[in-house]
């Protein structure tokens, strides 16, 4: 049974990675059709760097991802601190609002924001407000619930006595927050921020409805490209991106591992303290 499960799991992983392999191989292919191997070349990579369109689009995507994940992280973490102090009824109301973009299909979120911006455009008497700002607003909006989902559990896991202990030891409330509370919830904040960053970098469906011709992100541009015959330099770009994301993911996993280690150590220390108390008592 165990061997069956193992081989099945690796078979599924193979299924998940076959298209990646096709893209990576295609990036070194001299021909344009991924199905026909015409010999090894790095031409696609040099063409990618000579190309004046794709790389600026990537930069646009990164700008949006950095800004939106930063704004969402600050807003979301603040919201978690506030929600942590609320009575359950009010907090449930906030959670319902948080769940809206998570349960709604992306296309509905995209369409509803597109209609909002169209409406705002008519109010402001502008032909179209779509552009950098609308993309940023949309990305912050769909990132926020992920921040809440990853920070709120860390806050409830936190020992409430810690903050009081810090203040007893002479911290001002502000110091207690920055030195103790923020430090405690940091793993949640970082993993939420990274999640928001990758979601934003890869988002196509929502961006597609709220982007303007003046500011286009990479996934939207790829969509426009895939309507025409695909150019192999896209495969080269993909292969490079894959490497970058792999690196980010490895950092994320290492951070998580560190956090878990810390927590288990603390648990052991806590148990030891309790035992000592029992012995002394």
């Amino acid at each position: 049974m165990k061997t069956f499960q193992r081989s099945f799991t690796y078979l599924v992983l193979l299924f998940l990675y076959i298209p990646m392999l096709v893209l990576a191989v295609a990036s070194f292919n001299a021909g344009t059709d991924p199905a026909v191997w015409k010999g090894f070349t790095l031409h696609n990579y040099s063409e990618l760097f000579a190309d004046g369109v794709l790389l600026p689009m990537l930069l646009n995507s990164v700008i949006i991802a950095v800004l939106s994940s930063l704004i969402a992280t600050v807003l979301g973490t603040m919201a978690c601190l506030g929600m942590h102090d609320m009575k359950p009824r009010l907090r449930n109301m906030y959670m319902t609002v948080t769940n809206i973009p998570m349960t709604n299909p992306d296309i509905v979120t995209g369409v509803s924001l597109a209609l909002l911006f169209a409406f705002a455009g008519t109010l402001l008497k502008m032909k179209s407000v779509l552009g950098f700002t609308t993309l940023l607003i949309a990305h912050v909006t769909f990132s926020l619930p992920y921040i809440i989902m990853s920070v709120l559990p860390k806050l409830s896991q936190m020992d409430p006595d810690l903050q009081e202990a810090a203040m007893d030891l002479g911290c001002t409330p502000r110091q207690a927050f920055f030195k103790v509370v923020l430090h405690e919830i940091m793993p949640g904040v970082i993993s939420g921020a990274l999640m928001a960053f990758t979601m934003s970098l890869d988002d196509f469906v929502i961006s597609y409805f709220v982007y303007g011709p003046k500011f286009v992100t990479l996934p939207v541009e790829i969509y426009n490209y895939t309507k025409k015959p695909l150019q192999p330099k896209i495969y080269a770009l993909f292969t490079l991106l894959f490497m970058v994301i792999l690196l980010v993911m490895i950092i994320m996993t290492v951070l998580e591992a560190k956090d878990e280690k810390q927590q288990s150590q603390r648990r052991i220390a806590f148990r030891g303290r309790r035992k000592r108390k029992e012995v002394e008592g």
Binding site: A26, D85, T103, P105, V140, R174, L218
Partner: protein, 270 residues
Amino acid sequence: MIHTKRLATPYIVWMVLFTVVPLGIVFYYAFTDSITGQFTLENIVRIQSYMPIFIKSIWLALISTLVCLIIGYPVAYYIAQCPPSRQRLLYLLVMLPMCISFLLRTMAWVSLLDDTGIINRFIQAMGMKPLPLIRNNGAVVLGMVYNYLPYMILPLYSVILKIDSRLIEAAQDLGCNSPQVFTKVIFPLSMPGVISGFTMVFVPAVSTFYISQKLGSSGTTLIGDVIESQFKAAYNPNLGAALSLILMVLVFICIGITRRVSGTEEVAMP
């Protein structure tokens, strides 16, 4: 105390402004005429002609979700049984494909499945006739399963991981055989993960428009395609809004039914 409730105010203002108000505008558009701007039920009535497309979208999304569950469950179960370091590696391997543009991954499937694609060239090289692998329902289901399978595996894994192994031992001690342990203990306990995975696969699958455009044909037009074309090609935002509204309601009903059937309110977040 430095953190007070007021810290959540900017957040709630933002969310109301950019999720609640836009949904209100969708409502408004769905019930008004595109030219005169007056109240009308015409958009809702016109949706009747799109019923076959709605049914087809739900049908294909349901099949894909079930396939994801059947494939994803053993994988999630295996990962949860591994030692922690291996778990982390396998988790990373499942998650990694999700970070690559799904447009490109779908394009890769096109070059694999196409009539002159990699698989068919291989088949022809073996001396057999090429197979019709693309532009049919099967290809669309394959695309959905491929794209959303990680969304099924990850929540299942995090729930199975938390199942108390003593419960499984207790069931074995009390005389359950392996299939009974699975159907009576493990599967019911993993229900929150099943529900969460079901939602996370079904919702994007039922509303997709890119997968059906690339891997399907004119016969596999899905509701997402129709909504997209109302906003991007046929510019009729009122009809598009009405379709989005119905899609949203359908998704809520589907999620509600799954939760009711499974008898659980608790949903696992990966």
